[in-house]
């Protein structure tokens, strides 16, 4: 089992004024670990309205390039359940994450 270990920067590696030069680097912070519940989309029921994608506060629902198919980015999904709550056809179920 691998444990995540974020390397702490050293004095010699620190950019001036600790300014972060790379935009959008919050992508490196994977919050998927915070989840206790996981959204599961029933493809049969899904009408591809896109509301889950609009509502997700973490932009953790991704719109596929073709066919307007939506899927959950489990690297970031925190399991808040807003997508399940807002889905107009109840195509999303929140499922308990399993014990490892």
């Amino acid at each position: 089992m691998k444990f995540k270990r974020t390397a702490k920067p050293r004095l010699s590696e620190l950019p001036i004024a600790a300014i972060i030069p790379e935009p959008g680097n919050s992508k490196h912070y994977s919050t998927g670990d915070w989840r206790s519940l996981r959204p599961v989309i029933d493809r049969e029921k899904c009408t591809r309205c896109g509301l889950c994608w609009i509502y997700c506060p973490d932009t953790a629902i991704i719109k596929a390039e073709e066919g307007r198919r939506y899927y959950v980015d489990l690297n970031y999904c925190k399991g808040c359940g807003i997508c399940a709550e807002e889905c107009p056809v109840k195509a999303i179920t929140m499922v308990m994450e399993e014990e490892p």
Binding site: W34, E99, P100
Partner: protein, 190 residues
């Protein structure tokens, strides 16, 4: 309990790990002992892994630094195993108390990192769902903490839980503590 006993509580923000650590310290202080409790300080976020500390001793506790070599580790949420090294610094033959639906044997089989520990298990989630109708396991884990360590008395904890959560909530949580105490399975002679 002459020497310092240090306990780490692992949970997720919103599960009550900090409250559990606090109550464990209040219980010890109520019994005339010395104790300290504090969270791993920082911004609080629901779901994020959280660590809380409590220290126990018969003598005044002077050190105010973090806990690096705990004697006891309590894990409120087993999914934390995926991302947090809960065993870090745990003293050889230290106590590891886990909220899990699995048996101790299964856990030991599944996770090779669980070596050299006194392992205790409890399905605290089931107790919480039965009694509280919510998966908030902190009071149940308090019960298992008492069973596994004997650092404080069960009745002290129950009294404090009733005071902390008033009325019906107090009674229900107290029941969770008691059930947990009775159902905790410890793999050593305590």
């Amino acid at each position: 309990m002459e020497n310092l006993v240090e306990v780490r509580w692992y949970g997720r923000g919103g599960q009550g790990a900090v409250t559990a650590a606090d109550l464990s310290a209040y219980a010890a202080i109520e019994e005339g002992k010395h104790a300290q409790a504090f969270p791993s300080f920082g911004p609080e976020r629901r779901g994020a892994p959280v660590v809380a500390f409590s220290k126990f001793s018969d003598k005044p506790i002077l050190s105010r630094s973090d806990i690096y070599s705990p004697d006891v580790v309590i894990v409120l949420d087993p999914t934390l195993f995926k991302s947090v090294n809960v065993m870090e610094g745990l003293k050889p033959n230290g106590i590891l108390m886990v909220n899990t639906s699995r048996s101790a044997e299964e856990l030991l089989r599944k996770h090779e990192f669980l070596e050299n520990v006194k392992l205790g298990v409890l399905n605290a989630t089931r107790i919480a769902m039965d009694v509280l109708k919510m998966p908030i396991v902190n009071t149940a884990m308090l019960g298992s903490f008492v069973r596994a360590t004997g650092l404080v008395r069960l009745e002290t904890v129950i009294e404090l839980v009733k005071r902390r959560f008033h009325g019906a909530a107090g009674e229900k949580n107290a029941e969770a503590v008691r059930r947990a105490y009775n159902e905790t399975i410890i793999g050593w002679d305590a």
